[in-house]
Symmetry: C2
Subunit: 232 residues, 2 copies
C-alpha cells in the first residue's frame, strides 16, 4: 500500500507485520464471505498465524479489525483529498467539490490494482448499522471531508432538511455500491460499464451533481398511503 499521508510507518516491527498480515486476510475474507460470516480463527489461519488467538491478541473485537480496514482506506483517501482541496481553483463549481468526494476513492482503488477487496468491505460495513458508525467516525468526520462537504453545501442553500439528509444518504449509497460493484466485476472478470476508474469517477461526479441540483418536489402526503395510481 503506497503511504500517501505519511501514517503507519513502514519497515517496522514483527508485531506490525503480523497486524498487517491479519488486516490483509480479514479484508479479503470479509469481502468474499461477509463480515458476519468470518471467524477470528479463519482470519488467523489465512494470515499464517499458528496461534488461534493471534487475531484476538492483536485486535480484540471485530470492530477493531473493521476500524483498521477503514483506516487503511482513510489514510489513502485523506491525503489525496487534502491535495485536491489545496489545488482547487474554482470553489464556486459544484462538480469540483463533488470531485473531491469521488476521486480520492477512485484514485486509491485504481492504485490498489486488481484484485482489491477494500471497496466491497466498505460497502458491507455500510449495511451494518453498528459498523457504519465506524465509517462515519473514521472517514466521514475527517478534516478533508468536512472541508469538502462544507464547500459543497455552501453551493446548495435552502434544501429542506429531510431532502438534504435523504440526498446525503443516497449519495453515500451511490458511491459506495458503485465502487464495490466495479471492484467485484474487475476481480471476477465481469462486464463494467466504464472502462477505467477515471471514467467511473466522471460518471459518478456527473450523477451526483445531477442528484444534488435536481429540483425538489415537496410532498403533501403526511400519512402512509400509496400514490393514487397504486391504490387497489
Amino acid at each position: 500500500m503506497v503511504n500517501v499521508a505519511g501514517r503507519s510507518p513502514r519497515g517496522s516491527s514483527r508485531a506490525h507485520e503480523t497486524r498487517e498480515a491479519i488486516v490483509d486476510a480479514a479484508e479479503r475474507l470479509f469481502a468474499e464471505h461477509g463480515v458476519g460470516d468470518v471467524s477470528n480463527r479463519q482470519i488467523g489461519q489465512a494470515a499464517g498465524q499458528a496461534n488461534n488467538f493471534a487475531v484476538g491478541y492483536h485486535f480484540g473485537a471485530k470492530a477493531d479489525l473493521v476500524r483498521a480496514i477503514v483506516r487503511r482506506y482513510t489514510t489513502e483517501t485523506e491525503g489525496r483529498r487534502l491535495r485536491m482541496l489545496d489545488e482547487m481553483t474554482d470553489s464556486g463549481d459544484l462538480r469540483a467539490w463533488v470531485s473531491c468526494l469521488v476521486r480520492p476513492a477512485t484514485g486509491h482503488l485504481d492504485a490498489l490494482g486488481v484484485p482489491s477487496w477494500r471497496a466491497r468491505c466498505l460497502a458491507q460495513f455500510n449495511t451494518v448499522p453498528a459498523l457504519r458508525q465506524i465509517i462515519v467516525d473514521e472517514s466521514v468526520a475527517t478534516p478533508s471531508m468536512r472541508r469538502t462537504l462544507d464547500g459543497m453545501f455552501r453551493l446548495l442553500p435552502g434544501l429542506p432538511p429531510e431532502v438534504h439528509a435523504g440526498r446525503g444518504d443516497m449519495s453515500r449509497l451511490l458511491v459506495v455500491h458503485t465502487l464495490a460493484e466495479r471492484e467485484r466485476a474487475l476481480h471476477e472478470g465481469g462486464p463494467t460499464p466504464r472502462t477505467t476508474w477515471e471514467a467511473t469517477a466522471l460518471g459518478l461526479i456527473d450523477a451526483l451533481a445531477g442528484l444534488w441540483l435536481a429540483p425538489v418536489t415537496t410532498s403533501t402526503v403526511t400519512t402512509r398511503t400509496d400514490p393514487p395510481a397504486c391504490v387497489d
Copy 2:
C-alpha cells in the same frame, strides 16, 4: 400478501402452504443473516418443517428459493406498474416514467408494513452476480419494465452507450439500496431521512431524474491513471 396481479392462487393445498411458509422463513433469514450464510436445514426449521429435506424437496437449489422471493416482489410490483402506465397522462414527462420505476416498489413495501425483509433480500441478491441474473430475468425483463424503460429512454436520446449503461447501473444501485436501508431502519427503529414511503419515493424520483438529465462530461482518459490532482 395482497394479491394484486392475480397470480399464486390463494386458499390452496397443504403443499402450497408449506412452500409459502418456507419462502417466508427464507426471506427473513436471508435478510438477517445473508443469503450465503443460511442453510436449507435452518430454513426448514424456521418454517416449522420436521423433515430436514423439506426445503430441498419443495425448491431444490437455493436459486429456486431466491426466484420464489423475487417473484413475490414482481407479482406485486408488476400489477402496480401496469396500472400506473395505463393511467399515465403525459408520456413526455421524464419524472412520470421514473415514478413508474420507483412507486410500484415503495407502494409495495409500504403495504407490507413493518417489519419486512423483501427489500433487504433484493439488495443482497443484487450483490451476488449469479443471483442478480435472476432479478434481471424475473423483474427487469417484465412487460411493465420494458414499457417503462422504453418510454424513459425515448426522452433521453443520444447518451453515449457507456454513459447509458453506467447510469442504468447507478439507478439500480440507488433504488435497491435506498429501499433496503429504509426497510432496515424501520425494522430496527433507526433514523430515516424521509418520514413516509411516499416521501422516499419523491426523493428517489427527483434524484433519478437529476441523475439521468445531468450533463455528460466525456473523458479523454483511456489509460488507468489518477486525475492530475491525485498524482504523487
